[in-house]
């Protein structure tokens, strides 16, 4: 737009005009590679999922589509395993996210002190983040083994009877959540730490002059300053929890998510419908349900955060 100003209204040769047009179009060439890929492999599949969910499509013949209207959705509502998966996704989401974020908050607070070996702590805590879901799950599946698992052995030393970490509903969900907690606590710790470091030092100084203790400083300076970061981590964790897939798949290596589907999540249920039973249309309906769920949860989250802020402002 700055170009318009510089061009004199005098006679323009054809070459000049062409050069101008080229300069105006150049920026599009720079965003084109990304947007071409984005349109083809990002946006289109996402939108087309809604369309596919209205058809009967089988895995073996993905080219043949048969109109079914809302049948895929009504079939979902009538399938008890859909409700099991929905419930599991919610409970595993809570068991994995809440302790994870609380621990991350505490650890970030500690890392925010002047510490020796601070860089070491940060790197060591981020190590699980570098590990793949598959690798982490295979290791934890072994640690949680019923007969020879290390965790049951340690529990035995403490006089606790061995826990069946596979077939129990709560025990298996706790085990699966542990994998999530292990992989993501360090990451969230660093996110919180970054947020804490951007709280202006003057606020702490002012609080200290007013005689605030460390604990009061944490509650009244750190936490409010961290609110946007907390909202961010809650949103990201919610999205992650809604589509949880690799951990429940590889925990015992079965797409049912346990012998009675006791830890099957929506992500895994979608995979089972699509690649276990070959119902791609049905799987698309599940994907769309997950998408709506994410939009809903993120929306609720944003609304809550906003209300808190307004309340606080009016106080």
């Amino acid at each position: 737009m700055t170009l318009h100003a510089t061009a004199p209204p005098a006679v323009r040769t054809r070459a000049e005009r062409r050069a101008r047009a080229r300069r105006r179009l150049t920026p599009y060439a720079y965003v084109a590679p990304f947007f071409a890929l984005f349109a083809a492999f990002g946006l289109f599949p996402l939108l087309y999922t809604a369309y596919v969910s209205l058809y009967r499509v089988e895995l073996q013949t993905p080219g043949e589509m048969e109109w079914r209207g809302l049948d895929n959705y009504t079939a979902l509502l009538g399938d008890e395993f859909f409700w099991t998966a929905l419930r599991n996704t919610f409970t595993i989401g809570v068991i994995s996210t809440v302790p994870q974020l609380l621990m991350a908050l505490g650890l970030a607070h500690l890392l925010n002190y002047r510490l020796r070996a601070r860089a070491f702590y940060r790197v060591a805590m981020l190590l699980p983040y570098a590990t793949s879901v598959a690798a982490a799950t295979l290791v934890f599946a072994q640690l949680f083994g019923r007969d020879f698992g290390l965790i049951n052995w340690v529990l035995g030393l403490a006089g606790i009877h061995p826990v069946d970490w596979q077939s129990g509903t709560w025990s298996s969900q706790i085990a699966v959540s542990t994998i999530v907690i292990w992989r993501w606590t360090g990451y969230n710790t660093l996110i919180y730490l970054a947020g804490m470091q951007s709280v202006p030092a003057e606020l702490y100084e002012a609080a200290a002059i007013d005689g605030a203790s460390r604990r009061q400083q944490f509650l009244h300076v750190t936490l409010p300053g961290l609110r946007p970061t907390i909202v961010f981590t809650v949103v990201v964790s919610t999205i992650g929890a809604t589509q949880l897939f690799g951990e429940p798949l590889l925990y015992e290596g079965k797409i049912t998510g346990g012998i009675s589907h006791q830890y099957q999540t929506l992500g895994l249920y979608m995979y089972e419908q699509g690649w276990g039973y070959f119902h791609l249309g049905r799987a698309a309906a599940i994907a769309w349900v997950m998408f709506s769920l994410i939009v809903l949860l993120v929306g609720v989250n944003a609304a809550l955060a906003r209300r808190r802020k307004l309340q606080e402002a009016s106080r």
Binding site: M125, S132, Q142, L190, A194, E205
Partner: protein
């Protein structure tokens, strides 16, 4: 998402432990981050580090033992002599050698492609003016949070149509789409590339392409490196799409691990040997560049 604008930072936190031996602050500085951590803080942090590190240690223990060792009570807690036989077994059971090579090809291509596309688009969004810039940026940022996993069904139908199932490009091309990368590079360039530098280039009669290669890229290099590391790790560890699009005939590491964990292999120590081999490359990258990756994640956090 509300943290998009980087808040002002005071220089203190970056410097105060650089020497390893922090100088004692005078009592008058009351900033929370300047308190010294006591023994308790170290104790808790060490527990957290042990929690993080133990599964790695256990992978090594289990991968160097035999299956019989693992089924003993009390279990053996120290590494044993069985690593080579286990590795040999896993190379036979799941084609880990090929998987490592494929993962290297996929993650390498995805990294180079993503960094290039993101830098190009990030530069345009940061420094060039064009109609629709705001709207396009909003679309990019708005979809950053939408999990690609939700689009796998049409994506699968697409690559089935193209007959790309079981071919690496089926994983590489969708892997190049990174709204986060574009946004990351845009923020980086907005902050670190002064407009005057580009103006100077224009005055000298340089074309936009010339400006991009000889002014933008040198300035953007540190950001590109961080984005590259994050992209490489994410791509190496990507799970859902590769197991849908590929199979054991043309596996990436994650596909091979899935196969190992799928119940066909009963020998736990062999499974752990495979896990060790598949994790080693990222751990190597992490060992060399851990501090930069930590920095990148913290930067990314503040920037969005």
């Amino acid at each position: 998402m509300t943290v998009l604008a980087p808040p002002p930072r005071s220089g203190a936190p970056a410097k105060d432990t650089a020497a390893g031996r922090p100088s004692r602050p005078s009592r008058s500085t009351g900033a929370g981050r300047q308190h010294h951590g006591g023994r308790l803080a170290h104790a808790i942090l060490i527990v957290a580090v042990l929690f993080s590190a133990f599964p790695f240690y256990w992978t090594i223990v289990a991968a160097t033992r035999s299956n019989a060792d693992l089924a003993q009570t009390p279990p053996s807690l120290l590494p044993g002599p069985n690593l080579l036989p286990n590795i040999r077994a896993v190379l036979e059971e799941a084609d880990i050698g090929k998987a490592l090579l494929n993962s290297l090809i996929v993650s390498g291509s995805v990294t180079v492609g993503t960094v290039l596309c993101s830098t190009l688009a990030g530069f345009a969004f940061a420094k060039l003016r064009f109609r629709g810039r705001g709207a396009l940026l909003a679309v990019t940022v708005g979809t950053m949070m939408i999990p690609p996993q939700l689009g796998v069904i049409p994506l699968f139908m697409m690559i089935a149509e193209l007959q790309w199932v079981n071919q690496l490009q089926a994983v590489i091309l969708p892997g190049l789409v990174s709204a986060f990368g574009v946004f990351f590079m845009r923020q980086y360039l907005v902050q670190s590339l002064p407009d005057e530098l580009i103006e100077a280039g224009r005055v000298d009669g340089a074309s936009t392409a010339r400006i991009f290669w000889s002014i933008v890229v040198p300035v953007a290099r540190p950001g590109m490196a961080v984005l590259g590391m994050l992209t490489f790790m994410a791509s190496w560890n990507d799970f859902f799409w590769p197991i849908v699009a590929l199979s054991s005939q043309e596996p990436t590491v994650q596909v091979a691990l899935r196969q190992l964990g799928g119940g066909y292999v009963n020998d736990q120590s062999v499974i752990m040997a495979g896990t060790l081999l598949g994790t080693l490359p990222v751990l190597l990258v992490f060992g060399l560049l851990g501090r930069q990756i930590v920095g990148g994640i913290m930067q990314g956090a503040v920037k969005g």
